[in-house]
Amino acid sequence: MLSTLIKTILGISLLSVLLPAQEPPGKKIPSVTLSPPPLASVTRGKPNTVELQFHVSSGFHVNSNKPSAEYLIPTVLKLDAPTDIVLGRITYPEGEQMSFAFAPDEKLSVYSGEFDLAVMVRPLASVLPGNYEFHGQLKYQACDNAACYPPKQLPVRFVVKVVKAPPAPKKNPAQSPHIHN
């Protein structure tokens, strides 16, 4: 009987705490985080893609790399590559076309939840095999359903492991015709 009483109290309390309407803006601060990237092996002398996964905190969105209006601040990753590793194109996902309470008739191109960026890197053929660190910043500007937060920069760091290209498959040498005397 006593356990029923305790369960009832806990149940009602939990529901009441979870049910209240959405928090007003400013009670939660938006954040974008980089999921720890696995050590990517990249082959020297060849272009390789490194995937970086970012996470936008719940209840917020950031503009995509190609926002729907000129005045909006795009999400941009800027990286510094180690010497002898060429940094190639950074590929951004397409934004989700979403409308919000503050502009129900307008679709904004945004990222929310998880989004992945693909970074092309090409170590020169002369680079010594080993681990190399990239540093950079993800610039983003977040909003929730009613307010926008100043642009922020997230420090980004990841390591790639440069490996030698696997040896080319050996071709059988052309056999000289046997000459029988």
Binding site: M1, T4, L5, T8, I9, I12, S13, S16, V17, P20, P24, P25, G26, K27, I29, A69, Y71, L72, I73, F100, A101, F102, A103, E106, L108, Q141, C143, D144, A146, A147, C148, Y149, P150, P151
Partner: protein
């Protein structure tokens, strides 16, 4: 010993209500702890900022008028929704003593801010914000933030984030209705 189920339910409800009340009180206390001027009766912190035209403008220059102080930025989509409302409200209530004052909390150039304001048809002064002014108003950690100041320079309300036009209009009517108190 057998317990009456009705008594158990009543006890459960009373204890639950007490828990919920306590939780909400704690949350309210936290919500009210936003730094900066409090809503009612505080004198709005005075400041001097440059307007888009390069003119030094003091908030206290508008004493005697009802002021809606709007913190905004060019990158803020909800702010862009409010601006056409403000243009109309300034036209409608300006003759009754309303003065909307925009404060751009922006890293954009003065020209970009001016171009944006022009494109939006802004018909009220826009000042170039400074962090110190934002700090005086509680840090202005997100936009838009609106402060309603009566004719005596006292804050009557503040609104964080985008509100409906009717809510904004209600707050405007309240500050317009204020009377100048002779010193």
């Amino acid at each position: 010993m057998k317990r009456d189920p009705v008594v158990i339910i009543v006890v459960a409800m009373v204890v639950s209500l007490m828990l919920v009340f306590g939780f909400n009180m704690t949350r309210k206390t936290r919500n009210n702890s936003v730094p900066g001027p409090q809503t009612k009766g505080d004198t709005a912190p005075d400041f001097t900022l440059q307007s888009l035209e390069g003119k030094s403008t003091r908030l206290s220059d508008f004493r005697g008028q009802a002021v809606l102080l709007n913190f905004w930025a060019t990158w803020c989509a909800p702010c862009k929704i409010e601006m056409p409302w403000f243009v109309e409200l300034q036209k409608q209530y300006g003759p009754q003593g309303l003065q909307i004052v925009g404060v751009a909390m922006d890293d954009a150039s003065t020209k970009d801010i001016a171009d944006f304001a022009k494109e939006m048809g802004v018909n009220y002064p826009v000042l170039l914000g400074k962090e110190s002014v934002g700090d005086a108003y509680g840090g202005v950690q997100f936009l838009p933030e609106n402060f309603y100041i009566d004719r005596n320079g006292k804050l009557t309300a503040r609104a964080f984030g985008l509100k409906s036009r009717s809510e904004i209009e209600d707050d405007i009517r309240a500050i317009i209705a204020s009377k100048v108190t002779p010193k």
